[in-house]
Point group: C2
Chain length 204, copies 2
Amino acid sequence: MSPRNPASPAPPARRRDSAATKEALKHAALEAFTRSGYDGVGLRQIATAAGVDPRLVGRYFGSKAELFAETLELTTESQPMVPPITQDAAAELLTRPRAEDYLNGYLMTIRSTSNPEATAILREFIERNGAEPLAARLTGPHRDARAALLIAINMGILLMRDILGTTALTNEQAKELVPYLEAAFKAVAGSRDEDAEPDTGLGG
Amino acid sequence: MSPRNPASPAPPARRRDSAATKEALKHAALEAFTRSGYDGVGLRQIATAAGVDPRLVGRYFGSKAELFAETLELTTESQPMVPPITQDAAAELLTRPRAEDYLNGYLMTIRSTSNPEATAILREFIERNGAEPLAARLTGPHRDARAALLIAINMGILLMRDILGTTALTNEQAKELVPYLEAAFKAVAGSRDEDAEPDTGLGG
């Protein structure tokens, strides 16, 4: 029989099992990397925020870069950094209520590019999670490049509207932009083959 | 007659005139803000890098925010953060050699958005230097919003190509994207009035 009172609070961090400790570290890392970027935060700080002995971080993640990479994966659990670019994408991008939750991966990105190792991780992550699935849905030539360009347009809007709060993208005028952005997406996603039947270039 | 030997090195910073001191502070600030963002650097650090007594920064700039704002203006002296979006803009954006010099203002932007005061300065700067001059060259409705969207597209490409180095935007395929990006710019910059004569929507 356990001597522990069943009504007592959760056991302290040092008694947590390995999976829970790792999860706590990743969530503390998400908060820290999102706010301060890769170079702006130390492993000790993350461990302390997670209630974990800093000497254990290496055991769980090997390196700061590995923790960063695993934390980036975490951002896609609730919300992909690069949302699927569907026919509703323009309206979604230009009219959704501005909020922090869908920006985590993006904030980690723009705040971590001072570090070459983090930049390489981000590039690979965005290619794998954003550009590759999107390219697979395009038809016609240069699909990888066109997918990357679609994602670039998406990212620019996140910066100008959601992060900087540019007046003309956040006031009543913004919804009037939807057909313009739809046309821009179509110009990149649609086939340029003049014999092809006109469509958005996006299946599903 | 001055006792100073005319062949002696430049006088130390504390003897420099006020304009030279201010210029030295702004150049040190540019280097620091570009690398570490607004919250990642202190006034003392900037003053030390410029060889200026930290106690004098307040006399010249009043506040860190004011120094940031004046430094941002400096980035447009050699290269506008938001290049004019002309008919050659797509080719320029997708094929110019990647370099640091034209990215200073952009790096200051993406690395400083953790600070609300810096974010407000950046928003106003981009609206005044990028969106407003561009809107003045557009015709048709919603010019402010369309100009902001054109700049957003521009900024997304800077992030994905120039900063992150996305493979498909930096290899040989990238130049094949030029007509797609031209079409996307035209979709936003051109008039949607079907009776209007077709053009790029961009004068001169």
